[in-house]
């Protein structure tokens, strides 16, 4: 199935005080099933906007283009329907939910998604078992489950909490938006392990990053360079090495 995820001519803009500002200017990208793709690019080139557009954030208006996911028109779906369909976004800045218990949030999310997928809901015991196994694999303490969602979490804890959610929700397509930023090398490895455990013929991922380091643990299939709201260059894993050494200058010239 070559068109597991197919983004075609995607344009998106955001409302600002000075009127609508176009951020994505025709993104084309195809991610086959089972592959891990990477988007790199200078700050402000539209990487996070692409991530939000795929997850369905409303303040980004899709002005033209299409996204097909497993043959479905992804842009027609509400964010929660996308989650049920198998899309997961690991946030660059995970949001705090004061007063909302982390375990309760996870279970609500897992069961909402299971319901929508026509799977039986998990009872408290089954969930506890699943979540314990997941936290252990991520070297997280169970104490984090008792705290409120992301409230008072360190940067690293927040990112790990995202990977925990991803592990439990079992998406078929995950977008990781700079999940590696601000992580020490141990945490980085844990996050990469979390992604690698999901990998298989039915799982694809789009990893947004600035650093080659995470890619060393992920063995990506393809690297895309984004500039000025477009994919300006794509290539094999060796591209990351080139960017790491030479920067984006060569690609930016093309994009202008």
């Amino acid at each position: 199935m070559s068109d597991f995820l197919k983004i075609s001519g995607l344009h998106a803009s955001i409302e600002t005080d000075g009127g609508a500002k176009e951020i994505l200017r025709g993104v084309d990208m195809t991610i086959p099933a089972g592959e891990l793709h990477v988007v790199m690019g200078p700050n402000g080139c539209g990487k996070s906007t692409l991530a939000y557009a795929l997850a369905g954030r409303e303040d980004y208006e899709i002005t033209s283009g299409s996204v097909a996911f497993k043959g479905k028109d992804l842009l027609e779906l509400e964010p929660d329907e996308r989650a049920a369909a198998g899309i997961f976004l690991a946030f660059q800045a995970p949001v705090e939910l004061p007063g909302v218990n982390n375990a309760n949030f996870l279970r609500t999310a897992v069961n909402a998604v299971r319901r929508a997928r026509g799977e039986p809901e998990m009872d408290a015991v089954a969930f506890l078992k699943a979540v314990r196994a997941a936290t252990k694999s991520l070297s997280m303490s169970d104490e984090m489950l008792k705290r409120n969602v992301n409230v008072g979490f360190s940067g690293g804890e927040k990112k790990r909490n995202e990977v925990l959610q991803m592990t439990l929700l079992q998406p078929s397509f995950a977008v990781l938006d700079e999940t590696d930023s601000g992580l020490d090398v141990d945490a980085l490895r844990i996050v990469a392990d979390g992604v690698n455990r999901l990998r298989g013929p039915e799982f694809s991922a789009l990893v947004i990053t600035h650093h080659k380091r995470l890619l060393d643990y992920l063995s990506p299939d393809r690297i895309h360079v984004m500039a000025n709201g477009r994919i300006v260059h794509s290539g094999g894993p060796e591209l990351a090495e080139k960017i790491d050494q030479e920067g984006y200058a060569a690609f930016l010239a093309d994009a202008a």
Binding site: A55, E78, A84, L97, T108, A109, A112
Partner: protein, 496 residues
Amino acid sequence: MPAVTETREQIEKLGQSSYKWGFETDIEMDIAPKGLNEDTIRLISARKEEPEWLLEWRLAAFRAWLSMKEPQWAKVAYPPIDYQDVHYYAAPKKQPGPKSLDEVDPELLKTYAKLGIPLHEQAILAGVEPEEGAEERLPVAVDAVFDSVSVATTFRETLSKAGVIFCPISEAVRDYPDLVRQYLGSVVPAGDNFFAALNSAVFTDGSFVFVPKGVRCPMELSTYFRINARNTGQFERTLIIVEDGASVSYLEGCTAPMRDENQLHAAVVELVAMQDASIKYSTVQNWYPGDENGKGGIYNFVTKRGACRGARSRISWTQVETGSAITWKYPSCILQGEGSVGEFYSVAVTNNHQQADTGTKMIHLGRNTRSTIIAKTISAGKSDSTYRGLVRMMPKASGARNFTQCDSLLIGDQCGAHTVPYIENRNMSARVEHEATTSRISEDQLFYCRSRGLSEEDAVGLIVNGFCREVLKELPMEFAVEAQKLLQISLEGSVG
């Protein structure tokens, strides 16, 4: 159509039909003529076979009421109430209702199911009539899961074995006149305020609780209350007395939308806690709030006050207010006993055109008295919500402390939230702290939840429940779960 709209329509339908059928038969027997005068009060008192002192007490309240003006300071607006256009006495005899749950509108039952209310209680709430020959006081369909008549009897036995008195206040007037006479009006005097005076003049029934020295009430009075107390009318009067070292937890109200034909409600609740006594009073109020255009709905003007008379006594008010078109309510504590403690935990939700002006008064009289106020206000739609609170440290309240936290959450851009704290400190050693925040449900939070598979309404419910957690955890366990669902149902349709 959101469930809450459906429910309202069901309730309205029930309300209208009952009004149509209710008062046509045997009018002279069942209902006093409209209007309020001394004759009405004499009639109420006579119908209830009250002693002379109580009649005199009512009349004194009525005369005080005549000279009083309706308070105007609250931030609520409503058309003038014609107090002469109200029936002040109607016998609790009802028109024929449905015979079993099979005859009750399925939509209403759906709402009950959403709230997780047990079947036998659903029957009571929907006004299912008893089969002929069944006991009059407990009109429960015999096809319910179990026979709650026997359950209620068991409750009564458990309570009386412990020495706890729990009965309708009209029964208490008859059976325990000395207790009622000693305490009635001792916390909220008959002429305390306009609505309390009105209540004192015309109250028809309510609950009476007496917990003797050293007794911990063996059960939450909520359970019993939910099965028994209904049709207590629009002028409810509650009196709870807890003696030295005794304690009780009492829950008023119900998460389910109650059918109710009365628009004006003016209840009075009085609590008395003696030395080392503790009273936990929880309220879940979900009366008809009016339709989306602000038509109809209950006016809820309540006076609730507790007196911590003894040293180290404690009174804790917890309220979840989601219903009524207008809420005017300030559960208060008079902290007289040395080291006594007053607490107020409140969640007030307004949606559509609802208006709420609610808060508390903590009057610190004794040394080392302490009070805590946690008030959470959620406004949606075109509603308006105000927290109004008074903390008063009197000259003898050395070492007294208060902590107040008021948080407002706004949903949408057409609602309002206001915080009006009054602080009076006449003792240099007393300490008062006040914190207040106002925020919106952020798009970030909503999107985060939705990207994890939660529907918009589930996401709002989760965020709102998180916002209210500090208060909800104070509710008795069984009601905390219902209250969480209730918050969500109350806000259905408020986003998007």
